[in-house]
Symmetry: C2
Subunit: 107 residues, 2 copies
DNA sequence: GCCATGTATGTCATATTCGACATAGCGCAA
DNA sequence: TTGCGCTATGTCGAATATGACATACATGGC
């Protein structure tokens, strides 16, 4: 049993229903995390490149600094939706976003 | 005033707080919608290519047929998270997803 | 040292999204 | 026509993500 791995994921905040589900879903789950990580670092990169503080970006998004911080940390409590909206708000084009996503390749 | 456009978006289920916010955010909002549309059609395309019914995909996702239908219709009630998870569950690679996103270019 | 600026982390009530279910529509074979 | 498989749409209570806020931490200038 992948108790160890499961525990690690859960400790990181990733909910896993039961062992079977875990085994069945772990692959996509892992890919999904990779994807979020890629987008998260993309947000930070672009934000800094634009010379924006987290608070400034938050204002653009009508969100809050804490949420931006969590987003860049790929916190499990932030959705892909918010990340995408952030990227678009910063001025990322679909092409830019596609490039970020391709970085989630491998794993 | 962009009353017409605003009304159209709201009729389609896109919440818009007030005129100023609308004017300020419409651009990203529109891009975001394009992006969801691109991913939604990607889900349908890949699902059909795999010979899966909505119900079958729903089962893989531990979701329901209705949610898959709404997802493919790019319903405002479905998140990008669910779309991404679906794509990954269907077997899309980051490269595939990137390609879909690039289709949201223009507008 | 202190203060300012920016970032990280935790919590909360509220808002949004969830899966589930019911049910309607649609195409097609018997 | 009826029946069947698949998809669409609407509505729920439950689950999750949200912005706001407080507060801790880090770095750098004074």
């Amino acid at each position: 049993m992948k108790q160890t791995k499961k525990a690690r994921l859960e400790a990181a905040g990733w909910r896993v229903s039961d062992a079977a589900a875990f085994l069945g879903l772990s692959d996509e789950e892992r890919r999904f995390v990779e994807l979020k990580l890629a987008l998260a670092s993309g947000v930070r990169q672009l934000r800094e490149r634009r010379g924006l503080t987290q608070a400034a970006l938050a204002k653009q998004l009508r969100s809050s600094q804490s949420r931006v911080a969590k987003m860049e940390a790929a916190d499990t409590s932030v959705s892909l939706d918010l990340m995408m909206r952030s990227l678009l708000s910063i001025g990322a084009t679909p092409r830019d976003i596609a490039k970020l996503i391709r970085k989630a390749e491998a794993a």
